[in-house]
Amino acid sequence: MTSPILATNSTLFLSIQRASNSHHTGLWAWLQFQITGQIDLRWWLVAGNLSLLGITYLFYTNLANFPRWWNLPVAFFKRYEYGITTTTSQRYSIYSVISTASLFVFILSEAQTFSHIKRFLFPTIFAFSVAIHLKYVTFCLRNPEGRKAELTTKMENYQLTHLGYDYFEIAILDKLRRNSNYNLSISAPIHSKAFYDNFNQPPVKSIKLRVNQLYQTRDKLHFTGTILGTTEHIAAINRIF
């Protein structure tokens, strides 16, 4: 019932509903299907963005002992990092808003005890959030490309293993590409000339058998034979290795 896309979007609805059951995803899909006759991801994205307003509102109503406009930085912390249409960006924004709100609540509770922080806290956080939103400040991951490659290879390998085909692990292919071994030139042949000739002209074209016994019963076939000229053939085959 739950496809990966639906499972990703379920976080949006779960945050609204405060539900902990992942089967709600299927329920939402079913509900939309019953109402409109199709499952459209775009409406889920719209609902996800509306849920951000809901979170901001929740934070707004729970701001005790502080001016209400203090939740402006929380709203500004939302930033479309990977594009507006992907489910990843939805998840990213909802997590960032929630974490910022919780961090903000923590800082505010700390500011209750240290009142001299209180004066500089709001302008600092507000300036910081606006700077982040306008991309003057960027958080950098350590080795982001490496992490991305690692994650995507894990995902791709998972898909490949479950397809049921033989495959090279993507990590191996990626390693080959990075070390430019795809274009590796071989200066000298690895095997002898006889080895390569074998593919065009087999050293042993036929083997003679002397049949000692060959008969069939109702369900079995019995065969006994002796290979003639063994030593020549073995010598011919040995030449290619």
Partner: protein, 82 residues
């Protein structure tokens, strides 16, 4: 390997990884020799007739080695009708 006499053997495809049971049958000669208590150069096998659906078969040898990717199948002089 027992290969249908009228069907040309496709030796480009690895018959061990992609066995075409409609075309041929590969008895494990080493195992069959052990069961019949014979040894090379004598080859003995007793196999079920069930997968042998064609009228006539030819015997081939597939020589295998750990260091070689493919060896050409070697045709023998033995053909028989069922």
């Amino acid at each position: 390997m027992l290969q249908q006499r009228d069907v040309p053997l496709d030796w480009i495809t690895n018959v061990l990884t992609h066995p075409k049971s409609q075309q041929g049958l590969i008895p494990n000669t080493e195992l069959e020799n052990d069961l019949a208590k014979t040894s090379l150069p004598t080859v003995t096998f007793i196999i079920s007739k069930k997968p042998l659906i064609a009228r006539s078969y030819t015997l081939y040898f597939l020589l295998m080695n750990e260091s070689t990717p493919t060896l050409h199948p070697i045709k023998t002089n033995v053909s028989f009708r069922l």
